[in-house]
């Protein structure tokens, strides 16, 4: 077998995730994006906040509404499409990335979104997720991570901390969790971000970047389940602890957090570690100039991966948020369509009669 150098990417391949999707100058409102269906999540569910953020963002994107599609799997968050007045499909457990891939490849004029959860995307649908990421299909994937199975009433999920006591693990779960950001980076993702349901501004900003990235954008959203896993992200949300728990990543800026920026991240061996930054509080701390400057556009994902490891695998007390990685790579769907165009250019539009006759036909009189 041989490999060929693809005559791609064609120079005209766009880097805009929304290129090809028709736009409108007419102002749009959040109401237009609200369907007539009654929202049926539990009171206090983090999903409400995400829905509100998306309904707030979409009018801003200026897209023709009928060219937006939300595809979801199964789980609480996967009811999402019913509540948006766009096109939508509530599919089956774990398969939304596969279905969305077929749609995105055949319809470059659509803005295609996938809504999924930690069980949907990382357990039953893990295979589809990693392959969508490696292919870099032009999709925006919102992964609602509540670290629990909600719709089936409270079993532990692939992101639950080890030792999690649930109905199915009365003695504590014995499996190690996935870190969704680490997983996505390992799967060759070109856009990986994390945000929190309760931070509307951060959530909206990250979603906007994800939507406009060309390729598969994976956004992990820390989302509270008030019924079966309440407080799982308490440290991230509590006014008193939030500053110390969240490590904001901003491209081109030193990675620094905590009250008064007292904490920061430096390179350490092949990874990174959290240090105290020199200042009134830490006179012996590391100088600000030694902090790691976040480069989301670095071709090598190693540092982004190292940053993702600052996330606790057990009960969450610390996690980076923001865009870990955003790099440009031709998308599967653009390349697949370009091959079609190349074939068409080389051979001309297919002639069915010539095709079926083949090269070895004969005539009987």
């Amino acid at each position: 077998m041989t490999a060929v150098d693809l005559p791609f990417p064609p120079t005209d391949l766009t880097r805009d995730g929304l290129a090809g999707v028709p736009t409108t100058d007419a102002p749009q409102t959040r109401k237009e994006y609200t369907s007539d269906q009654e929202v049926r999540w539990c009171p206090g569910c983090g999903d409400y906040a995400v829905l509100a953020a998306v309904q707030g963002l979409l009018p801003d994107l200026g897209l023709v509404r009928e060219n937006i599609v939300f595809v979801s799997g199964i789980g609480c968050s996967s009811r999402f499409p019913y509540y948006l007045d766009t096109y939508g499909m509530h599919s089956i457990h774990g398969r939304a990335p596969a279905i969305a891939t077929g749609l995105a490849v055949t319809r470059p004029d659509l803005s295609t979104w996938v809504v999924t959860g930690d069980g949907d995307a990382l357990s039953i649908g893990g295979n589809h997720l990693i392959h969508a990421l490696r292919r870099n299909v032009n999709l925006t994937i919102l992964l609602f991570n509540n670290r629990i199975y909600g719709l089936t009433k409270g079993q532990y999920s692939p992101t639950s901390e080890t030792g999690k006591v649930t109905k199915s693990t009365p003695m504590g779960s014995v499996d190690s969790p996935f870190n969704p950001v680490s997983l996505a980076l390992g799967a060759e993702a070109t856009f990986v971000a994390r945000t929190v349901d309760s931070d509307r501004r951060h959530l909206t900003a990250v979603l906007r970047e994800a939507a406009t990235h060309r390729g598969t954008s994976l956004v992990e959203i820390f989302q509270n389940c008030p019924i079966f896993n309440d407080g799982a992200f308490g440290a991230m949300k509590d006014q008193d602890s939030r500053e110390a728990a969240l490590i904001p990543l901003e491209h081109g800026r030193p990675v620094r957090f905590g009250a008064g920026g007292a904490r920061g991240v430096v390179r350490a061996g092949v990874g990174v570690r959290v240090v105290s930054v020199r200042g009134a509080e830490h006179p012996d701390g590391v100088d600000e100039s030694a902090l790691l400057v976040h480069d989301a556009h670095a071709d090598d994902p190693s540092t982004a991966f190292a940053l993702s490891r600052l996330t606790d695998s057990g009960v969450l007390t610390q996690a980076p948020i923001g865009v870990f990685r955003q790099v440009e790579r031709p998308t599967y769907d653009d390349l697949a369509r370009a091959q079609g165009d190349t074939a068409l250019g080389a051979a001309g539009a297919g002639d069915l009669a010539a095709l079926i006759a083949g090269k070895d036909s004969w005539t009987v009189d």
């Binding site: 596969a98 077929g102 697949a336 069915l352 095709l355």
Partner: protein
């Protein structure tokens, strides 16, 4: 030296050798020559699932049978008139199928103690008399090949590899096949490697000349071209015909074709074939698994493409949930199952038709879908087009049941006039089209779109694809409220929609032609006629048809029905079955169609089954039919001698 020429009306040749001996290619080339000559033909490749089993062992034997005739034939033939065995294992694996008096051509080169023992021979069969019932030509084909190509300076191994072309040359001489197509083929194939090209062409010519000059082969055979309906023909395999049928469906519907597939034997060739034709607007997606293959196809259908997935039985098992989703979403989807021996991994390269009940019922809940099956390799074209017609017209997944013998077998195909092929109307919903909205009043734009409102005749729902203004809606796997498509847990609604989805599939029967009954004795004379009906589906068409001809030739009256549509059945099928005293259903499973016929029509269908991974033999089936005919006294009027009695 002038050779005796003997006329024959049909011949069955089987080429057998090691997996690496190029027997499939040899068979393909002989078939191409035979097609060019104008005989009717039918082929049966038979090869192991292992790519290269240990050389010289029984596990590694690969064979290719071709049946050709001066008249219309239906099967690749039961037993070879000529067996070409390239090594001891090939002889051992195939000789039991060879009738007494037939010809066996053996390449003696590998008949060494070591290779004999690998094949499990205690003694050399060439010497111990076991081949006495046959006309044996024991020749060192390999040595002659190596000598013939000596001038090209190939390694001994490469030189010996041309032995299949020597054998092809010899057989081409014996049966008067035209040599030009093969020389042309070799010239193209080895265009970049002139030494290999010249060696293969030389081996081929030397094989021919060997037949011409040696005294060992005293007779040549002549099989006149068959009388075939006028038209343009080509030889085609089932998988190629199926691929072309899908492309034709795309062209005739104006829908871009999207194939989502995961490699699996014996379906992969459809993926390979369609991947070559991107200039027809075909997109092929090699998915990460079977589930993603069908999922992507369904996603493409949702976006307004003709979504297709191809697989074999194990893949259908994995796709079942998504097919169920397609039933619920009521979107077009063509699911091709190229059946193979099961259960589980089963017999990947062997044929079987044991997925019928899986196709019918292999999903949770009441999830009916139409099922169609081709009857011959070329018929895969029409079956694929028909599957797409139903899928698009009725907004439903359709299961197309081909099988391994159709997929790899080939036959001459009279090319259809592409402009006369049926057209398929996608009938996409538009906001301004009448009937797509919940109101016939003026200004209906304010009314909500009803994605599950149905066409009165077909019961098909609207196909409103993303990008269509004014028709935004949500669909999903949860039960749908009638018309609105909203989530509904209402008991009456569920009862209604379950029955409606069934009624929609049943409605397909209204567009099917009456059942075609092949009953030559019907209406010929009073009081005489067939009391026996044989019903089949899929690739058994050839053997059943051939068995019917044999039984009829002997004076038995046998009627034949072969079903294209397994779900729904044609509307008149019950009435047809009721006309006969006995209904016999031969199948390569344990009686799946028979079960359906019994359940649906309360007919006491007699199941005749075989699951050997190989097609039925016409002669054996004819015996079965004769026995049934005698039991129900199903005799035709006395034979006048002009009834078609050719063996098929």
């Amino acid at each position: 030296m002038s050779k005796q020429v003997r006329q024959l009306d049909r011949v069955i040749i089987r080429f057998a050798g090691d997996s690496g001996d190029g027997m499939q290619l040899t068979g393909d080339r002989f078939t191409a020559e035979t097609a060019a000559f104008g005989n009717d033909l039918s082929t049966l490749p038979n090869f192991p699932a292992e790519i290269r089993a240990p050389q010289g062992t029984m596990a590694g034997v690969s064979s290719f049978q071709v049946h050709f005739a001066d008249h219309d034939i239906l099967t690749p033939g039961d037993a070879p008139d000529v067996l070409v065995a390239m090594n001891p294992a090939a002889l051992k694996a195939n000789v039991a199928d060879v009738p007494r008096g037939s010809t066996v051509i053996v390449d003696t080169h590998d008949f060494t103690t070591r290779n004999l023992s690998k094949a499990g021979y205690g003694q050399d069969p060439l010497d111990d008399g076991t081949l006495e019932p046959f006309q044996v030509h024991a020749v060192d084909l390999t040595a002659m090949t190596v000598e013939a190509v000596n001038e090209f300076g190939l390694s001994r191994k490469d030189a010996a590899r041309a032995k299949n072309m020597f054998a092809l040359g010899l057989l081409s001489w014996m049966y008067g096949r035209p040599v030009e197509p093969t020389i042309e083929f070799l010239t193209t194939r080895f265009g970049a490697k002139p030494t290999l090209r010249d060696a293969n062409v030389t081996a081929f010519r030397t094989g021919w000349n060997y037949g011409e000059t040696t005294e060992a082969f005293a007779v040549r055979y002549e099989i006149k071209p068959a009388t075939m309906a006028s038209g343009r023909y080509r030889n085609i395999t089932g998988n190629a015909a199926l691929s072309y049928g899908l492309i034709a469906a795309s062209q005739r519907s104006g829908l871009p074709l999207f194939l989502g597939a995961y490699p699996i034997t014996p379906a992969s060739d459809v993926l390979h074939e369609l991947s070559k034709h991107k200039n027809f607007g075909v997109t092929t997606f090699q998915a990460e698994d079977e589930i993603a293959g069908v999922g992507a196809a369904l996603g493409a259908s949702y976006g307004g493409a003709l979504g297709v997935t191809t697989t074999s039985g194990p893949g259908i098992s994995l796709k079942s949930e998504t097919i169920g989703l397609a039933v619920m979403l009521e979107l077009p989807l063509v699911v091709c199952d190229i059946q193979r021996g099961g259960p589980s991994t089963g017999l990947p390269t062997k044929t079987e038709q044991s997925d019928l009940l899986q196709a019918m019922f292999g999903r949770n809940g009441e999830a009916p879908l139409p099922v169609v099956a081709p009857r011959s390799p070329a018929d895969c074209f029409d079956a694929a087009l028909e599957a797409a017609r139903i899928a698009v017209t009725y907004r439903t997944p359709v299961l197309l049941l081909s099988d391994g013998s159709l997929a790899n077998g080939s036959e001459p195909w009279r090319l259809p006039d592409v402009d006369a092929l049926p057209t398929i109307d996608p009938g996409f919903a538009r906001a301004d089209a009448p009937g797509d909205r919940n109101s016939d009043a003026e200004g209906s734009e304010d009314q909500p779109f009803l994605p599950y409102a149905r066409d009165a005749a077909t019961l098909a729902r609207s196909w409103a694809v993303p990008g269509t203004a004014g028709l935004m809606h949500r669909i999903g796997g949860l039960e749908k409220a009638d018309c609105t498509g909203d989530i509904s847990y209402d008991p009456d609604n569920h009862d209604l929609t379950v029955r409606t989805r069934q009624a929609k599939v049943d409605a397909v029967a209204g567009t099917l032609p009456p059942t075609e009954v092949d009953d030559p004795s019907r209406g010929v004379a009073d009081g005489v006629g067939a009391r026996l009906l044989v019903v089949g589906w899929g690739s058994t068409y050839g053997p059943i048809g051939a068995a019917c001809r044999r039984a009829r030739r002997d004076g038995y009256a046998v009627a034949q029905v072969h079903l294209r549509h397994l779900n729904p059945f044609p509307s008149d099928l019950g009435e047809v079955l009721a006309r006969y005293d006995r209904v016999v259903v031969p199948e390569m499973n344990l009686g799946q169609l028979a079960l359906l016929l019994r359940g649906r029509f309360l007919v006491d269908a007699v199941s005749h089954t075989q699951v050997r991974g190989m097609p039925f033999k016409a002669a054996e089936l004819a015996d079965v039919l004769r026995a049934h005919a005698r039991e129900v006294e199903s005799y035709a009027f006395p034979q006048s001698g002009n009834v078609a009695g050719r063996i098929a």
